[in-house]
């Protein structure tokens, strides 16, 4: 299927949009916000050409509920926004999770809380991995770290969302969204969208009607639905952990970072290895399910003695690392807040103090 590979210089936002179109996204609704405007603009310019429907909604709330509706009809549907706008979408995401429908939601994170600022941030980790909306639900969360990965994570997000019938969130940030990098692109032909799913709404002639809802009033019904959801989440936790490791075999200090922070750490790790320093990188690609298996292996192994979590937040992924390490190794943290980013010197200083 891979033919006519070509390299295109594009922003992370555009790469996500192009990746979505090629993944067979049939419906997009969104509302503009910096720093993700290139994404909605790209969708406005190109989705219709591929047979999809683009709507600039009147609000973030409207957009996520349009996605709810489109998804219920069996169409690959997505929306995107940045932090304050994603907060507005939480009710809809909870409903989609409750109704067991697939949807892809892209968050190009910016500084918060509140309206915050427009600079890159990773402070929405809790919101994405813990639910964000109400109720006992989860979303699959993918964290690309290069513009190439922005492009490649979209088919994965759609197929995981379809497979498990639940929301999948792409956690990007202002830096990754705005920067341009070469993307190795497949042919422009979008993936053929498979037949309408069995659960989708539509003409029910000859079958019992399908229902998409998250409302269960009869005693005990909602608990049954919840138990079903939890069973699904257990399967995902067992089967869908993804991460990238670098120099982990003999690392004395393992750096843990995702997204933009991870690409910066990766180059620092190369540099320090060149100086003979035994550092490694563990980069979670799925933030939920968190790649606990990789951490378990390191915690049980002989070499990795210390972990250093680096985030553009006050320490959110840090909690997941501490949960899995559970006191077996030292876990340090370095973070900047409100749109700030740890500098290379700052990071190296922190690593050196641990070696």
């Amino acid at each position: 299927m891979i033919n006519n590979l070509k390299r295109v210089l594009m922003t992370g936002n555009e790469a996500i949009a192009e990746g979505a179109i090629q993944a067979g996204c049939g419906f997009y609704a969104g509302y503009p916000i910096t720093p993700q405007n290139e994404l909605i603009a790209y969708m406005a310019a190109h989705l219709a050409d591929s047979g999809g429907v683009f709507i600039q909604a009147e609000s973030e709330l409207a957009a996520i509920n349009m996605v709810f509706g489109a998804s219920a009809c069996g169409v690959r549907a997505m929306t995107s926004s940045s932090s304050p706008g994603i907060s507005l979408k939480q009710e809809g995401i909870s409903y989609i999770a409750g109704a067991q429908l697939p949807a892809v939601i892209v968050n190009v994170m910016r500084g918060g809380p509140g309206l915050g600022n427009i600079w890159p941030s990773q402070a929405d980790y809790f919101q994405a991995t813990r639910g964000g909306g109400h109720g006992d639900y989860r979303s699959i969360v993918l964290a690309p770290s290069t513009v190439q990965e922005c492009y490649e994570c979209m088919p994965l997000a759609f197929s995981l969302a379809d497979q498990y019938r639940m929301p999948a969130i792409i956690l990007s940030d202002g830096m990754l969204g705005q920067m341009m990098e070469p993307v190795l692109m497949r042919s422009h032909k979008p993936l053929a969208i498979s037949h309408k799913p069995k659960w989708a709404l539509g003409n029910s002639k000859g079958r019992s009607p399908n229902v998409a809802k998250s409302f269960y009033l009869r005693e005990g019904d909602l608990e049954k639905v919840n138990l079903l959801l939890q069973k699904k989440y257990k399967t995902i936790e067992a089967k869908e952990q993804r991460y990238q490791g670098q120099y982990l075999d003999d690392a004395k200090v393992v750096l843990v970072a995702y997204g933009t922070m991870a690409r910066i750490i990766k180059s620092i790790t190369h540099k320090l290895r060149g100086q003979g320093k035994k550092v490694g990188l563990l980069r979670p690609i799925t933030l939920w399910p968190f790649p606990v298996q990789a951490f378990e292996r390191l915690a049980l192994g002989k070499m990795a003695k210390k972990f250093l979590v680096v985030e553009m937040s006050a320490g959110q992924m840090l909690e997941d690392v501490k949960l899995v390490i559970n006191g077996r190794s030292a876990v340090g943290f370095l973070g900047r807040l409100g749109g700030g980013m740890p500098s290379e010197e700052e990071i190296i200083k922190n690593i050196t103090s641990l070696l």
Binding site: R7, L9, T34, P35, I118, W119, G174, M175, Q178, M179, M180, E181, P182, R263, I264, I265, K266, S267, I268, H270, M341, S343, E344
Partner: protein
């Protein structure tokens, strides 16, 4: 922004790793703007540049804001059509009247291409041929007449070096 994009695109065509990071704050709604371009033979970590090898500065305000953000013994190429502050120490500064030169060419907007030419005349980071191909590819359909003047401007810059 465009000059940076052309350089990044051309370097990509030559098989290098590149990143391009724009100013996307209030700058884009008037006032000064900037972009950061990294060209490398290995994978690039942060696209953000603390201290640059070279600064190409097209106006006085940006000169004031960025002149200290160059590495020791780095290069600054500045537009002397505007009033510029004194040169920073420890940097090689080349001043050319890019805006005046562009006006003489008949289009003020090509000042950036003259500046890009003068930079590549100094550094030779990418080949002129690749820059020309990139300009041709990036010119919007229906505005192909812009290719010629941009190439001319670039060549004039190249000769300044």
């Amino acid at each position: 922004m465009l000059a940076g994009k052309i350089m990044a695109e051309a370097a990509m065509q030559e098989g290098r790793y590149v990143t391009w990071l724009p100013a996307y704050g209030p700058e884009v709604r008037g006032g000064t703007a900037f972009c950061m371009v990294i060209i490398s033979d290995s994978e690039i970590g942060s696209p953000y540049i603390g201290e640059a090898d070279t600064l190409i500065i097209l106006n006085g305000l940006s000169f004031q804001k960025f002149k200290c953000r160059v590495k020791k013994n780095g290069l600054i190429i500045a537009n002397s059509s505007f009033d510029l502050e004194d040169d920073p120490q420890n940097a090689r500064v080349l001043r050319y009247p890019f805006t005046d030169l562009a006006l003489k060419q008949g289009n003020i907007k090509v000042a950036n291409m003259i500046a890009l030419g003068s930079y590549l005349g100094q550094k030779g980071t990418v080949a002129t041929k690749t820059i020309f191909e990139t300009i041709r590819r990036m010119a919007p359909a229906g505005k192909k007449e812009l290719i010629k003047i941009n190439k001319q401007a670039f060549m004039q810059g190249l000769r300044l070096a």
